[in-house]
Amino acid sequence: MSKVILLQRLSTLPMRHLQQAIGSLGDLWRTPLASMMTILVLGISLTLPTTLHLFVKNAEKITQQWHSASEITLFLKLSTSAKSAKNLLQKLQLYPEISKVSYISAEQALTEFKLLSGFGQALDYLENNPLPATILVTPTKRSSQADVVKNLLSKLEKHREVEQGKLDLDWLTRLEAMAKLLQDIVISLAFLLCLSVVLIIGNTIRLAILDQKDAIAVMKLVGATDAFIQRPFLYAGVWYGICGGIFAIIAETILAQYLTASLNKLTYLYHSDFVLQGLGFVESLWLLAFSIILGLIGSYISVRQHIRGIEPTTD
């Protein structure tokens, strides 16, 4: 074959790809009910892990608001002078694990206690202030995990000015364990549902291949390569991925809108400014790309498995 002819043939390649891509979309269009059913199943299968992802995303946002749960309270010894306390405060500010420290003097603590406890006048009869000065330590975001905070607490308790440190570790540990469990559940479910998407597309393409078994045999007879034959089926997988992905994005948007209304009522009752975060533009694009990749994988596995086995016959 001369170079000119070869170049001419290569120049028609993009057009052939386009034709086969449009042709495979036409094939889906010609069987609307079956195609729609497949797309719906794919869309729902993608919507479920996406919903869980959003749930985790919003849960993380909420737990960030509860970040103070890992706040350490350091009760200073009664003998600690204001100057020593200030020195300690400066030392603590140098810790890389600490984001903020605030000092509450014994007097401030007593005033606050008077206001909150309702024993205001009774406390005036006390000869001495029984409350110690305290330092509130807020760890950085990175150091707010239970084990890191626990280490930090033991380090802080070693300062001679500190009488006792306090941290509600059990609650924090439980919260973290729950968050981890939730994350693991989401990952496992997402994996299973993605696997089901691949299997659904693979099976749909397998049925399409079997339906066109005779045509494939004829194509092989006249010299079609497996790559040429499998191309429309791969495009069909991509189309299923695109349609399933778009369905999942739309379903997710509707779901987020629907839940926002109910959630607003709840957050109003709790005086919270929490706003439900839906699927962002970039996340939507990722979902679409992921869906296309799953479609391509499903169809590729199917064509590799079945097209090679079909051979032309003369009978």
Binding site: Q8, T12, V222, G223, D226, T313
Partner: protein, 231 residues
């Protein structure tokens, strides 16, 4: 062009379809392949078109040993062979134009060239007016001619035909054979498997005769009637 060296073919189950077949068909030669049903004619054509692999022996097309080629090379071997089979092998959901254009689309010809070649091929088999029809709208003979048009459209070096005139009337049969002769004069190697001994006798081309998988004669068929009676 085509060379068989001690080729045998045994199908799974033990049926021996071809035994130690040897022959050579030169480039640009035209020959008939004859023999009774089950003699091994179709198997021989399938081996050339790589639809089956020889159990023993070697088949060469030009210098390519078909027993050595890889799976990925098979389509490229088939592109050089125009195949015409009794069952037509047409795509029923595509028009006659699309059926005939298929080998050209696969090879990546431009739209313009495809249109020109398809029209020319259909003209040769007298079906130029059936471009937009579907195979089911045509008679068996017409479908056979569409198969022939598809086999010649990409100007292959070899044409293998299994009973190409089986569904045609005598006049059309002769037209098709004349078409093969025309292609042959342009250098195409042609092997036609047929039962039609009358046709073979009229055309007087080299004839390979198979009997129970063995090649019993190779040359001009001298006494057609006598051979027929002796079977």
């Amino acid at each position: 062009m085509i060379r068989f060296n001690n080729v045998s073919k045994t199908y799974p189950g033990g049926f021996l379809a071809l035994r130690q077949v040897n022959f050579e068909l030169a480039a640009g030669e035209m020959a008939f392949l004859t023999g009774h049903s089950g003699a091994g004619k179709s198997t021989l054509l399938k081996l050339i078109s790589v639809m089956e692999k020889a159990s023993t022996g070697n088949i060469f097309i030009n210098d390519t040993d078909l027993s050595q080629i890889k799976y990925k090379q098979i389509p490229y071997v088939r592109r050089g062979i125009g195949m015409i089979f009794q069952n037509h092998n047409l795509l029923l959901d595509r028009t006659i134009y699309d059926n005939v254009a298929l080998p050209l689309i696969i090879e990546g010809f431009s739209h313009k060239e495809i249109a020109n070649r398809v029209e020319a091929a259909l003209e040769k088999v007298h079906l130029a007016n059936k471009l937009r029809c579907y195979p089911k709208m045509l008679s068996g003979g017409e479908q056979q001619r569409v198969g022939i048009a598809r086999a010649i459209v990409n100007k292959p070096a070899i044409i293998l035909a299994d009973e190409p005139t089986g569904n045609l009337d005598p006049k059309l049969s002769l037209d098709i054979i004349r078409l093969f002769e025309e292609l042959n004069t342009l250098g195409t190697t042609i092997l036609i498997a047929t039962h039609d001994l009358g046709l073979i006798a009229r055309m007087r081309y080299r004839t390979l005769t198979l009997k129970q998988g063995c090649m019993i004669t190779d040359g001009l068929l001298q006494n057609t009637r006598g051979d027929e009676q002796s079977e």
